[in-house]
């Protein structure tokens, strides 16, 4: 076929396709605007202000020899697991600061870790593209790899257990996946993001999860169906962290664009932005306090800011780390927040 004719036909098909594409995007934008009858700050103007939030470091967990990249609380609100590029997963008793387990990893390039709700397993993964499951309660009393889940074609950025046999992962290959741990197979693949997926958060009812990616969007996925239900644009750069609001109807994100944002699922749009002219660095991690009134966010500038989620004002600051805060988490009972840093320490605050 002649070159000119080839080009003509390709251009015609692209134009046709563009016309098909533009309609639903406009429909969605109009529908979101129609639902937007007020702003969060306006709607919460009668809420009591909360005053200054001051927390102190209650425990410092020392033991890692290199940057900490991830941490996750156990559901007992006492044990937590942390992952460091010193090639170790450490399970800590945060009350006593004792190390319950120190698990050497096959690959030291770890980027995420997770604690199973039962407390029987932990998982981790990173640049090896594999999610490794470790059993903490073997008959012999030692910790060993119970399953390796290969399949992603990019780094493992985040993982979360649904239960002892199911885990959801997010990856630099732009997809998320649901795994059956027993068989080692991917049951479901969640495709749609057009950039590395950096973080995921399970809904309280475990039927859906939210993902944040380097395409600057967050997506809500139905776990059983494997489908993307909604997409939330707004951020101007990579989203590094997502976390559900405790009622399951909203979630917060943290991004390299130096802002955190609150999105509502049923209104299908952004409700609020948490930013300040003085804050110009990226957010690495986010978590809500038990009632959802406080949004905690870890930053590249070594601090953790505590935001009043309803007034969108900064209510406090957790200062003490000597390097980037890479991860943070609030206990299920809401009594403490843990921060992990590139300075190799974890701190427990309340």
């Amino acid at each position: 076929m002649q070159f000119v004719l080839q080009q003509f036909l390709l251009n015609r098909s692209n134009l046709f396709v563009l016309q098909l594409l533009s309609d639903p995007v406009r429909v969605e934008q109009d529908a979101r605007k129609a639902a937007c009858d007020t702003s969060l700050v306006q709607a919460t103007s009668n809420m009591e202000p909360i005053g200054r939030i001051q927390m102190r470091t209650r425990r410092t967990l020392r033991g890692h020899l290199a940057k900490i990249y991830a941490m996750h609380w156990g559901s007992d609100s006492r044990n937590l697991v942390s992952a460091s590029q010193d090639g170790k997963l450490i399970v800590w008793d945060s009350y006593t600061t004792n190390k319950v387990h120190a698990i050497p990893l096959r690959s030291s390039w770890v980027m995420t870790c997770a604690y199973a709700p039962s407390g029987s397993y932990v998982a981790c993964g990173g640049l090896d593209n594999i999610c490794s499951i470790y059993s903490l309660k073997t008959r012999e009393g030692n910790v060993r790899v119970s399953r390796e889940l290969p399949g992603h074609t990019g780094y493992l950025s985040c993982c979360r257990f649904l239960d002892d046999n199911q885990i959801v992962t997010s990856s630099g290959d732009m997809s998320c996946a649901l795994w059956d741990i027993e068989t080692g197979q991917q049951c479901t693949s969640f495709m749609g993001h057009t950039g590395d997926v950096m973080s995921l958060s399970l809904s309280p009812d475990m039927r859906t999860f939210v993902s944040g990616a380097c395409d600057a969007s967050a997506k809500l996925w139905d776990i059983r169906e494997g489908s993307c239900k909604q997409t939330f644009p707004g951020h101007e750069s990579d989203i590094n962290a997502v976390t559900f609001f405790p009622n399951g109807y909203a979630f917060a994100t943290g991004s390299d664009d130096a802002t955190c944002r609150l999105f509502d699922i049923r209104a299908d749009q952004e409700l609020a932005m948490y930013s300040h002219d003085n804050i110009i660095c990226g957010i690495t991690s986010v978590a809500f306090s038990k009632s959802g009134r406080l949004l905690l966010a870890g930053y590249d500038d070594f601090n953790c800011n505590v935001w009043d989620s309803m007034k969108t004002e900064r209510a406090g600051i957790l200062a003490g780390h000597d390097n980037r805060v890479s991860c943070l988490g609030v206990t299920e009972d809401g009594m403490a927040v843990a921060t992990g840093s590139w300075d190799s320490f974890l701190r427990i605050w309340n």
């Binding site: 639903p24 109807y249 299908d268 009632s291 009134r293 403490a336």
Partner: protein, 78 residues
């Protein structure tokens, strides 16, 4: 480019199929039912108000004895 006729046809069909999938997904997302922002915020405020008394990071501890991370005393019951 100088591709064969069939190669160009394959590219066009695959391109259209992909774009159709993207369009269908966009249509599904555009078609969902939405609630108003005012209703969404009301529900969020209600949740916060109902749970703020149990939010220790917000309201603190009634006494330091209630804080499992208080400064350790000489004896602790584990």
């Amino acid at each position: 480019i100088g591709l064969s006729d069939t190669a160009v046809m394959d590219m066009m069909i695959s391109n259209l199929q992909q774009q159709r999938q993207v369009t269908e997904q966009l249509r599904r997302e555009a078609a969902i039912k939405r609630i108003s922002v005012s209703q969404a915020v009301l529900d969020i405020m209600k949740y916060i108000t109902e749970h703020e008394q149990e939010d220790c990071l917000l309201v603190g501890f009634s006494s330091q004895k209630a804080n499992p991370f208080r400064e350790k005393s000489s004896c602790t019951l584990l």
